[in-house]
Amino acid sequence: MRAADAIIKALEKEGVKHIFGIPGGAIIEVYDALFDSGIKHILTRHEQAAVHAADGYARASGKVGVAFATSGPGATNTVTGIATAYMDSSPIVVMTGQVARSLIGNDAFQEADITGITMPVTKHNYLVTDENELLKTIKEAFHIAGTGRPGPVLIDLPKDVTTAEVEFDYPEKITLPGYRPKYRGHPRQIKKAAELIMKAERPVILAGGGVILSNASEELTKLAETIPAYVATSLMGKGAIPETHPLSLGFIGMHGTKYANYAVQESDLLIAIGIRFSDRTTGRVSDFAPDAKIIHIDIDPAEIGKNIEIDVPIVGDAKLILQELITNITYRKRKEWEDRVEGWKKSYPLRYRKDDEKIKPQYVIEKIWELQPDAIITTEVGQNQMWAAQYFKVKRPRQFITSGGLGTMGFGFPAAMGAKTAFPEKQVVDIAGDGSFLMNVQELATCVDYGINVKVAVLNNMFLGMVRQWQELFYDERYSATCLRCKEMSIEKIAEGFGAVGMTVEKPSEVEDALKEAFEIDAPVVIDFRVDRLENVYPMVPAGAALHEVIDEEV
């Protein structure tokens, strides 16, 4: 059969239901094969958005997301999306067209060395040079993307490979001698961890995105209750434990809650699970949790000891390890510590200055949460992202989708498209900044085209807000290139121009009604909230400071 048809058949075998992408000459054959397939293809307007959509689909559903692009510019446009998925360990498979084998290396029309370009930002990648390797490659790609520490895998397909004749003999088994993820934790290490936990007076759990990726949320919550220990999460770990749970401290780090930061700093034992200790999470490393012994559970051995010295490393799958760890632990109340943390929670709640005139961005998010606590939330990057992380109390894993590692503006909207494609019956809301929204605004066309009825709440401050905040605080208010000067721009009209519904909201009193209306409408809706332009995100741990060295605002 034609290799292109075999590719589509292989994808069907892998259970792929949706593909996001844009065709072109080099991948036209695969698109031709797709024409007769039951797989639904969603034609995005930019390849970056196709990859973000596949990523959002993967993060929301836990399944491998798939994106297609043609060679050259199509392929290079995928790079930001791939790097975003790589940094957050999101399982996606990206297939790109490539010029014919005989032309590779000749600077042919629309040729780009995409496997070379994406080597540092993929878990693995392939250039298929032999059609007989094609099906094995696809099988391996899905396996690698979705197992162990998940991540993006790219397959580059020369045009003449896609037109070749192959036999459809899809391998059942995989032989990858160098790839053997370890799932079971070492029993002796688990014992050691349990002993440390039983001895600890001020235990804190620090949960990251790995908990969500391994579907270990239930186990995490059970562990926290069994010890008992408070749980702080990284940004990527939001939802690992319901944020309304009495033991939840919310997220830690640069804009985390004060009580999470304080609790981690004063803990005598940190149980870190599926977290990679990014600089945004730890603050100044030399002063991070100075009194704590640290247990680190992670499926990727390279994460252990990379940024922080570890006392008890446990390599393996969080879910399996927690299941075992729990059986080795009994409940012991630590009254003094509990009082201390509860005291911090009372003294330092998240708060902002209320206002009747100007719309406070935090207020908008609180309202979204009140009206749609079950919605899947995606975010852009900047202040909008941090406010969303602070004020949207996430109930469950895979509910909060954000670009944590790469911090990619323009991620949230296409990711929302992907999440909505996976869960059409759920409300999906992208919490956006005006700067970020414009980075993939063209996808409104895709949403309208396919009836992907996501909602976008633009917290419009007419600034690249987060950068402006840094300029205000650390650069003498020299607002170099952060004012978007867009008084004339109408986001409402932009939305309408694409055939979506647009709204503009200028008063706090109108926020709730506008949101209610938007949630009722069965169409993509973009609401332009004209928020207080100079609002800042607090609390804030400045870059390079220790976690307890927090700047806050008088309220």
Binding site: T115, M119, P120, L127, T129, L176, G178, A302, G305
Partner: protein, 161 residues
Amino acid sequence: MRHTIAVLVEDRPGVLARVAGLFRRRGFNIESLAVGITEKHGVSRMTIVVSGDDRTIEQVTKQLNKLIEVIKVSDVSKNSVERELALVKVSATPQSRAEIIEIANIFRARIVDVARDSLIVEVTGDEDKISAFIDLMKQYGIKEVTRTGKIAMQRGSKALE
């Protein structure tokens, strides 16, 4: 500290770029890298000399292990046989020629090419020996040197697989 690391990899296109790229991207300092096939079909062996403290070496090892095509990583710095090969093209006059050949003999080096006013000498050994030889050749005027980079194998019957 310098470490010698042996890496068994699947012999697939791009694997060298993947390994070298990893070192550059993560800021590890490669001092030398030698690659060749092994006794097993489809498996190559890289010998990488890298400098760094224990933590860096641990990261190097772990990051290498993450690469899909890497089958085995092993630190062979201790208790191993280490060899390098160098070709040295050295100026030789009728007067100096005999002296050079004599030194070469002491080093168990071989003359592999003779021209009117130069010689190419092939020398193998550990790094110090080769450096010492090159040092001695300097007085005659070195025209060109090429070294392979180190290869290493641990003593005893245990094998890396």
